[in-house]
């Protein structure tokens, strides 16, 4: 079917129906960074299909639904089936992008993902939104363990971009890898600006966003912003910290990470996820496996369930703020 419409984004493309933030009066119009990237990719390749489980607008797949309706599949509130259908479509030669909130994709469909996507290496892209504790909707909607689950699966690639400005590169990286990919995304609440002077996001590569030899902060997703804020704060106190964007959680850039660690006194990891099994664990495994000892701190959800709330409130209460990162660095330097 031809595209139904090439008109500019309509009013329903605005950012009005998410529960990740409380709506503010006179809110800025924020582009749908992921939705636009997927739409562009799907226009270029008609084998790309968007599947979603009754969460079209919150996963920004409304753009594909409205502009390329023939490439959109509404799977209903049935995530396990959606994952299996995606695997079947991939076996028929399509490239399904399967969407839901991160928590439902990972927890509700884990066995289906293991057996129908990871084991047979079907070319399915799993796209989870609302990661970690970044949600008003409470504990049922907070994916604090999805990275751990996905990391444990053989054949799975995991990408968690730091900024919506990277989503286009993340979609490209997912497509460049023929096989299972888990994209862990949050929705932009403000226009995003690309970071200057760093290469585009790619699988298996870290990006050095801030340089300093006193400490290295390895961060992913939303925590990259907190890490950069912490680095600025530390700089004002004459402490120089590196900030490393670990968007490619699997495969990890082991060589790049070892090089950064070799030049750093303190190692801090920061993730919007439980400290068990995620980025912090992965970095610890690299250090232990290479006989490297450094003061080491994992910023993240400290093995507990959280609650619904705003990002600032939850990051403050559960120890995921820039302040917590800076405090960990200072504690390490003092030890």
């Amino acid at each position: 079917m031809a595209e139904s419409d090439n008109s500019p984004l309509k009013s329903d493309a605005l950012h009005l129906d998410d529960f990740s933030v409380r709506q503010q009066p006179h809110q800025q119009i924020v582009p749908k960074y992921y939705g636009e990237a997927l739409l562009a990719a799907a226009r270029a390749d008609t084998s790309i299909l968007a599947l979603t489980a009754d969460l079209t607008a919150p996963t920004e797949t409304d753009l594909v639904r409205d502009h390329l309706p023939d490439q959109f599949v509404m799977a209903g509130i049935a995530e396990a089936n959606m994952v299996g259908v995606g695997a079947g479509l991939a076996r028929a030669g399509f490239i399904p992008f399967v969407h839901s909130f991160s928590v439902f994709l990972s927890r509700r469909s884990f066995d289906q993902i293991a057996m129908q996507i990871a084991y047979p290496k079907t070319n399915v892209k799993l796209v989870g939104f609302m990661p970690g504790i970044d949600s008003l909707l409470g504990v049922s909607h907070q994916a604090i363990d999805d990275i751990a689950l996905m990391r444990a699966l053989p054949n799975m690639t995991i990408l968690e971009p730091a900024s919506p400005a990277d989503y286009q590169d993340a979609v490209a990286a997912a497509l460049a890898h023929e096989g299972p990919v888990y994209l862990r995304l949050y929705r932009a609440t403000a226009p995003a600006t690309p970071v200057d002077g760093v290469p585009p996001l790619q699988a298996g590569k870290i990006r050095h966003l801030h340089h300093g030899n006193d400490a290295a902060i390895f961060a992913t997703g939303l925590m990259v912003e907190q890490a950069l804020l912490a680095a600025e704060d530390l700089k004002a106190q004459s402490v120089n910290a590196s900030v490393i964007d670990c968007a490619s959680i699997k495969p990890l850039d082991v060589e790049g990470i070892l090089e950064v660690i070799s030049q750093s006194k303190i190692i801090v990891t920061a993730e919007n996820h439980t400290i068990i099994g995620g980025l912090g664990s992965a970095i610890a495994e690299i250090m232990a496996g290479n006989n490297i000892a450094r003061p080491f701190f994992r910023i993240g959800v400290q093995d507990c369930f959280a609650e619904g709330g705003s990002r600032a409130f939850l990051f403050g209460k559960y120890g995921l703020s820039a302040k917590d990162i800076a405090a960990a660095v200072k504690q390490g330097l003092a030890s």
Partner: protein, 278 residues
């Protein structure tokens, strides 16, 4: 293999007997296994691979092949035996069934290659993949059909009903599910575990065409599979009532998920099958 020609009842029956003998030999080597299910489904497998399914023995990845998914992935003795008799697997490999290192595992996996369209040992998942394949095949305007064999106990898995509802929503008439209805699951009679009956009314209410047949009656298979292929607006389910242990009188009706098969019993069963059809 579907050629447009009708396979004779004698050939289907003889093939089923050959498959049954293979099943006995394969399970007997281990003294225990999925023998009752294998004997029970042998007629269905004979019909599927010697009449219904379209495939190319020289090109297993042929894009327009019919796809068959064994959601009852443990029922492999009959599956592998059928593949061997259909020229899709070296008959000699049947002796490797369930041996360490063999790709003929208890639960069929893709280590066997493209003959296993989907790895299904975790029950409830096969139908969703079949639905995805049926959608994909239709989008590509292929005339291939997608077949799935499901166990009745598997109907207790919720995902089956998610997939059934979704398949009907999309009017996937190129999808045919065969339910091997023997009321046998690990814990005993499936009806004592969950109220799975009436299977036909449940699926009809979900938007499927359903046909109940005697799973040992080839004429009924000809008619029901023809009706499934002729259907254009909804998926079809052939509910095949099968008898565990079918074909060997002293095994018929014995319900055991993983039955012990001592050497003497296996020999007696083989003698019976030889005498009956030799």
């Amino acid at each position: 293999m579907q050629t447009g020609n009708r396979t004779s009842l004698k050939e289907l029956t003889d093939t089923a007997t050959t498959i049954r003998k293979d099943v006995i030999r394969m399970v007997a080597r281990h003294g225990q296994g999925y023998v009752q299910q294998g004997l029970g489904a042998a007629d269905l497998f004979s019909y599927l691979y010697f009449q219904e399914l379209r495939f190319d023995t020289a090109n297993l990845n042929w894009a327009d092949r019919d796809r068959f998914i064994l959601s009852t992935a443990h029922n492999t003795a009959v599956f592998y035996a059928t593949l061997a008799r259909a020229g899709l697997l070296e008959p000699q490999t049947l002796t490797e069934y369930c041996l360490d290192g063999s790709s003929l595992e208890i639960n069929a996996s893709e280590r066997l290659g493209p003959l296993v369209e989907c790895t299904c040992g975790s029950l409830g998942q096969g139908l969703s993949v079949a639905v995805g394949l049926a959608m994909g095949s239709r989008r590509q305007q292929r005339d291939a059909n997608i077949y799935l064999m499901l166990g009745d106990g598997e109907l207790e898995e919720g995902q089956v009903w998610e997939a059934a509802m979704f398949a009907a929503t999309h009017k996937l008439s190129n999808l045919t599910m065969i339910i091997d209805l023997n009321y046998m699951q690990v814990e005993g009679d499936a009806r004592d575990v969950a109220a799975i009956d009436p299977v036909d009314a449940k699926l009809e209410s979900f938007g499927w065409q359903t046909i109940i047949i005697d799973g040992h009656d080839f004429e009924a298979m000809f008619a029901s599979f023809a009706a499934a292929r002729a259907n254009t607006d909804r998926p079809s389910c052939i509910i095949a009532q099968t008898t565990p242990g079918k074909g060997v009188p002293f095994l018929e009706g014995q319900k055991s998920h993983n039955m012990v098969l001592p050497e003497g019993t296996a020999d007696d069963a083989l003698r019976w099958l030889e005498a009956d059809h030799g």
